[in-house]
Symmetry: C2
Subunit: 357 residues, 2 copies
């Protein structure tokens, strides 16, 4: 049975990305060696690293004064690397969910943190508006897509201080004005590749302002100076990222991806809004196009498990919502085909026919 | 042409490990999903994590009061995590090469460091003996195999303080008395798997002694408390580690591996000592069984490039020595077949016949 993979992350990757990675694991470009067995300093892997960086630059239209880094440790490690490198006296954070809270917690270990706005009052079901960013902050941190609560930020904020954005779950989902950010970072395991590599797009001028001791591996300057090769990078995960970016470029880039994502998300949100059994959890103007969260309407609450089992019986994977929200979460990342979204809609309609009073 | 992969790391992996990883990249256990696309919190990946930990415990005979962790960031990140977590007033280090020096540099950012002995005086071509370990140190750090200089430590030291060992390049090459260590750690990309995951075997009692603020991701306790799943672990690299350990167990475990490694190393060292063109760089009693470093004898110095080209023409990869030593380095990790070592010996003998005066 064909699987429809709605997992929140690690998540679906394009078929040809999987196929090409499997082939490179066996033998990279016919050189007689696995991509896992190569010296990272040899020409074969250097070509992988160089192409991955070049595709990042091309597809996101990254200005020349930014570096693109690939690090280990996950986006969670960035939560402390950011204040380690950037927080001199005060940092500003927008609190839009679990990941923002974790980022805030780490920053508090290094200095003063001002939370400019929070949607905690409504279980993070919206993106705050109308807040002001303090111009004496060293940076302003946002989480552009909130995987758990299904909300998203779709504008590139104007800010008096450098914007630092965790784009773990929506990078490459839309065109960006990178020049409006100081740092964009994220784990690869949603729109980009497998778990194990973290990208960091960074404007070098941000660095060198703190006097604190920064361990070598936690210092962005180390990785800038060494082209992400100060130590052995996560080679195989980086290879898969390159394959995803090749695939994305072939499809037409981030503008095309944005249209495809909006189409998929609209299809599903329309069905959620129409269907008598379900309701969405995020406020309309904050709805994520990557993670679509919905629950049973109160009068059908006791059908939750039955609907989940029904989707599983139809080959759907990963639809159970996060415990912080409950219900269901359909992650419709870049690689998710429209057919899988349609399969979910069909299941919702069939379930409605059977159960709506 | 068959390739003989002598790379120092990332390095050769067993054929069946590569094949099984390629298959799991396509479809893990026939579940219809790639190992790259699975939620790390689902039962399919949890089984991978559990088996990898269990095989570590079984194959290294790890006592019950130790945890086995899989982290991102590389062994280089451990160089600062160790003092962050363990250094209260003073740490003792044995300086046996480049990696030890890097570890020492990071520790100095956190407190007093006593280098108990160093082989820097002879370009790290030997392992110091007869040093004493200060009993007021918080820990004593060693690098058990020095990849660059081709030296190794083959005993489990008796120490008045916890021994912390970087075993990046010789883990699983011999049986260990784990109880003599406080922490054993290393990058996977030599004897274990692809780059992108770091193992940490840790005795929990070592923790909680420092008052300093430790960022969440840098605190070993975080990863112990969450079974290496505080954040998304490097799933695919961990999968390959599991396949390597399955392969290692099938071959008979670390005792058998030790015999095979000693046989391969003896074959090559014997040829280096016999051949008129070459000489080994490491002192006899300190010779690594993983990285075998040798150079042309002075009178044949100008043949260095020609010999390297000759090995390349015979399908040998990665034999160029590190710039710190020059000449050649044959890395003969667990997965290296005896046939590849014999192919190198044949090349050395043929080259000798042609060039020895």
């Amino acid at each position: 049975m064909k699987k429809h993979n709605f997992s929140a992350g690690p998540s679906i990757l394009a078929k040809e990305v999987i196929e090409n990675t499997a082939n490179a694991v066996r033998d990279l470009n016919g050189i007689g060696l696995s991509v896992m067995e190569l010296s990272h300093r040899g020409k074969d892997f250097q070509a992988v690293m160089d192409e991955t960086v070049a595709l990042f630059r091309e597809l996101l239209d990254i200005p020349g004064n930014y570096h693109v880094l690939f690090l280990g440790g996950g986006a969670s490690l960035q939560f402390c690397m950011l204040p380690f490198n950037l927080l001199v006296t005060k940092a500003a954070y927008l609190e839009t969910g679990t990941w923002a809270k974790k980022a805030i917690k780490e920053a508090k270990g290094f200095g003063q943190v001002e939370v400019v706005a929070s949607s905690a009052d409504k279980n993070f079901n919206y993106i705050p508006r109308g807040f002001s960013i303090p111009d004496d902050a060293d940076y302003f941190h946002i989480t552009t897509n909130n995987t758990i609560f299904g909300t998203g930020i779709f504008e590139d904020y104007d800010s008096p201080v450098p914007v630092v954005a965790d784009m773990s779950s929506d990078i490459f989902s839309r065109p960006l004005d990178v020049s409006k950010y100081g740092i964009i970072y994220g784990g690869a395991q949603k729109n980009l590749g497998p778990a194990g590599v973290t990208f960091v797009i960074i404007r070098e001028e941000l660095l060198g302002k703190t006097e604190r001791y920064i361990p070598t591996m936690l210092n962005y300057q180390t990785h800038i100076d060494n082209g992400s090769m100060f130590n052995t990078p996560p080679c195989l995960p980086i290879y898969t990222c390159m394959e995803t970016l090749r695939w994305l470029k072939k499809l037409g880039g981030v503008k095309v991806m944005q249209e495809m994502n909006q189409e998929k998300a609209s299809m599903l949100y329309d069905e959620i809004d129409r269907n008598l059994l379900f309701r969405g959890t995020a406020v309309n103007d904050s709805r994520s196009v990557m993670n679509i969260c919905f629950v049973m309407r109160p009068e059908y609450q006791d059908l939750e498990k039955e609907f989940l089992d029904f989707t599983v019986s139809r080959g759907m994977v990963g639809l159970k919502g996060h415990r912080s929200v409950g219900g269901f979460r359909a992650s419709t990342y870049n690689a998710m085909p429209k057919e899988s979204v349609q399969a979910l809609i069909d299941a919702m309609q069939e379930f409605e026919k059977k159960h709506a009073k």
